[in-house]
């Protein structure tokens, strides 16, 4: 029992530390341009270099979505609705979620292991010793880079998913491309696009800050670094799913 109480206390303490980090981050945002060069560098690593995995993720999810729904809808003679299902599914849910999960793994592991290694080797202390705030130097550029890059990456997943869905629909369900295209576009509302494209910003913010927090919290040696990296990836992925649920359920109904 005391073990549970203790671990609960640690969780609460961690949450408090994370909140304090966010407060520092918001305070530091006013001078974010000072770290612009770092942010651009991060954009390359967490954004540009994620292009391929996101593209492939989008393509395969689009294919699966088209095939699965196509076969099901075919039973009801409604396979013409595939275009609509694929475009709505990709833009509202699967595009953002697949991108979010891929980036949670990629960005989460990168941030936690880099900052964790810096923590272990006292480079974080060295930053502070030389008068530089680690939040300003490390967290803000990473967060800004994520905020900038996640949206275009999500758009890439969406588009590649819809296009690949269109191609398999033509090849294996014999749905005419122009027909698919028409059904895909005509069913889309502004609301769908809005919800689909607002998610990446929230994913970016939480993935980046959670993984940086875990990096900072690394204490000990290589084993500790492994653990914090696991935690960063797991919690970043979970927050993507939780946020997605919140958007699907709550925000959608509010709009």
């Amino acid at each position: 029992m005391t073990g549970i109480a203790h671990s609960f206390k640690l969780k609460i303490y961690g949450l408090q530390e994370y909140t304090l980090m966010l407060v520092d981050l918001f305070k530091g945002l006013s001078t974010f341009w000072k770290t612009w060069a770092d942010a651009v560098n991060e954009m390359y690593w967490i954004g540009a270099r994620a292009f391929m995995p996101v593209l492939l993720g989008g393509i395969f999810v689009g294919i699966i979505l088209a095939l699965e729904t196509g076969h099901q809808l075919d039973h009801f003679g409604a396979k013409t609705l595939v275009g609509r299902t694929v475009s709505l599914g990709m833009i509202r849910e699967l595009g953002p979620v697949i991108t979010g999960l891929l980036l949670a793994a990629r960005t989460g592991a990168k941030n936690a292991s880099e900052l964790g290694a810096m923590q272990i080797s006292e480079q974080i202390d060295a930053l502070r010793a030389f008068g530089t705030s680690p939040i300003q130097k490390l967290v803000i550029p990473r967060t800004i880079a994520a905020l900038v890059m996640f949206l275009p990456l999500t758009a890439i997943a969406d588009i590649s998913g819809i296009l690949s869905g269109m191609i398999v629909s033509k090849l294996s369900l014999s749905i005419d491309t122009s027909f698919f295209w028409h059904s895909a576009l005509s069913s889309l509302l502004m609301k769908d696009i809005f919800v689909g494209f607002i998610k990446p910003f929230f994913f970016a913010f939480f993935i980046s800050t959670i993984s940086c927090y875990y990096g900072f919290s690394t204490r000990g040696g290589t084993v500790a670094l492994g653990k914090t990296t696991i935690n960063a990836v797991v919690y970043s992925s979970l927050i993507v799913l939780v946020l997605d649920f919140i958007f699907t359920k709550v925000v959608w109904e509010l709009l």
Partner: protein, 248 residues
Amino acid sequence: MINLSHVSLELAGKTILSDISLSIKKGEIAIILGPSGAGKSSILKIILGLWRPDTGKVFIEGKNIAGIPEKEIMPVRSKMGIVFQANALFDSLNVEDNVAFFLREHSKLNSKEIRAKVAEILSFVNLKGTEKIYVDQLSGGMKKRVAIARALSFDPEIILYDEPTTGLDPINSKSILDLIKQVSDRGATSVIVTHILNDAISIGDTLSVINDGSLIQTGTVRDMLNSENQFVRDFFYEVYQDAALFKK
């Protein structure tokens, strides 16, 4: 210049420092001596304000940094350079960027002036021409020099050295000690943490012996050699032996 008054620190339920009072005068070379795990590095972290003591005060040039927010400590830190025990060089940067780090972040110098300054410091620590090398490709002694160069880059009034010669061969050790002496001759206040007696004796103005987080004795080399305290006598045992050897 530096004044610790009744400083205590506990980490993870363990007493790290207990009731340490220490005073270091401007321009002197103060040595903090003690066995492994005594709390030497912790004292440096307290002086820099990286760690906050649970009780007690830490005065740097008259300003108590013990209870003030991180933001207010920053200007005080800019008076102090530190050489970390494991160097803590920024391993994603090359030698030049490491040494230039503070200047780029906080000084008004332009990039040409910074480059000139870095070259000057690197030649002072005998590392001319290493600007573009990444720090993980350097030898232990060279890393130490880069760490010293980084600490000197902004001409701080106080320089903290954490075990500057540990793990180095005698030649390298000697040249690092010479370097420390030269920096001190320019007027800097030096605090050196070490467990190597010979180094302490050869360059220290005052020595403070700590053990298990407590200050055992402060004084000159002579005070230490005449000490009645058993721990100090044990710690300096080597020196008595060397003296006996020489008599033979």
